[in-house]
């Protein structure tokens, strides 16, 4: 499935400053694997050593937090909008 993944804030740096990238993947996890091939730092920044999503990173599929769906196994449908954000703490 083709999906658009948007990285907000400082996470844009993970995809060379692009606002969004397109992937062909059946799930969020597959999408991240595909992006990891292209952007080497992305996996470590988003995923913990056990392969789960870092708990300071949120991924939304069509505005719904994947933690409340099937996590990285959340299925992507054509045209889905995926948004990735990170906690920040500066003040």
């Amino acid at each position: 499935m083709q999906a658009k993944i948007e990285f907000l804030g400082p996470l844009k740096q993970l995809v060379d400053g692009q606002d969004a990238v397109e992937v062909h993947a059946a799930s969020v996890g597959e999408a991240l694997e595909e992006l990891q091939q292209q952007y080497g730092q992305l996996g470590k920044r988003l995923l913990a050593e056990d392969g789960s999503l870092h708990r300071h990173i949120n991924i939304y599929v069509n505005e719904e937090d994947i933690r409340f769906r099937e996590n990285l196994q959340t299925v992507l449908s054509p045209g889905d909008q995926v948004t990735v954000i990170s906690a920040i703490a500066g003040g």
Partner: protein
């Protein structure tokens, strides 16, 4: 404003100072009185805390509490507009108060030159109607969230990094999540740079702090029975200063949240380090760490 428009037993200066508020249907005299009667605790008097404290003071919020253990450094001045060049080396809360009293001497300001800890957090927030998180690190942010949940105090959250900002409000109502519903834990320190390492575009905290101030004022105005404006409840506003754009993401309460979903949650059992996991071993017992918070100054 002409004296004929005065309907309350208030001095003419009061009507003049707050004339542009009183002229607003959403505020009016009763709203201004609500602001005058309100108390807000602002944690942090740096980049975010500066616009928050400035606008709340100018708006006539009755009592402000300012918490900051730090002193003013030269590299603060690019964004921390409460402080000036001659304030270097001075306590930020003292410098802040001197700026604020010039803007509005009617506001009572309590200064707390100390770190927020599990020992003083509850004492601090219980004195105020609502809390504004203008801190600058994850450990403090999780502590602020947890103490506000425990004390039932509305929390106006804001954070910045580089050109990015985030704002939301945790009202502590049953249908509203908390910061841990949004981000369960802080990142490993090696993964997220501090403002010192990553830099910060100076106006970014000005924009986010101003939004926090606006939300704090609306929370007060809404609390007297009418709706002056919409609160960012269950809504995370994300600002991108490089694109001059805002995005909004809907938030949901996590029914299994270890803090707001746990009626037995006790922040004294949490060790607030940069990981801030709630299942961490207990910190030093409360009895040995408890201190009484005494304001450095009460300015009436």
């Amino acid at each position: 404003m002409s004296t004929s428009a005065r309907t309350m037993d208030k001095p003419l200066d009061w009507y003049n100072r707050y004339a542009r508020h009183i002229a607003l249907e959403e505020v009016g005299e009763s709203g201004q009185l609500a602001l005058n009667a309100a108390s807000v605790l602002v944690i942090g008097t740096g980049g975010l805390g500066s616009p928050v404290a400035l606008y709340l003071t100018a708006a006539g919020v009755g009592t402000l509490g300012l918490v900051d253990f730090d002193t003013v450094s030269l590299n603060n001045l690019q964004r921390q507009i409460l402080h000036g060049t001659s304030d270097q080396g001075r306590p930020k809360v003292q410098s802040a108060w001197e700026t604020l009293r010039e803007i509005n001497p009617e506001v009572k300001v309590h200064l707390y030159q100390e770190k927020m800890t599990t020992a003083n957090a509850l004492d601090l927030v219980q004195e105020y109607d609502l809390v504004v998180d203008a801190s600058d690190n994850f450990a403090t942010r999780f502590l602020i969230n947890d103490v506000c949940v425990q004390a039932g105090k509305p929390l106006v959250f804001g954070a910045v990094l580089q050109f990015a900002g985030q704002v939301t409000v945790f009202t502590q109502e049953e249908d509203c999540g908390c910061y841990r519903c949004l981000f369960p834990e802080s990142p490993p320190p090696e993964l997220v740079p501090t403002c010192e390492q990553a830099g910060i575009f100076g106006v970014t905290p000005g924009i986010i702090g101003s939004l926090q101030a606006s939300q704090a004022l609306l929370l007060i105005l809404n609390s007297d029975g009418h709706t002056a404006g919409e609160i960012l409840k269950n809504r995370l506003l994300i600002y991108d200063g490089k694109q001059a754009s805002f995005r909004e993401i809907s938030l949901a309460r996590n029914p299994e949240c270890p803090v707001c979903g746990n009626p037995d949650f006790d922040l004294r059992k949490v060790e607030y380090t940069e990981t801030c996991a709630v299942d961490a071993p207990p910190a030093v017992s409360i009895s040995s760490r408890h201190t009484t918070t005494v304001p450095l100054a009460d300015i009436g």
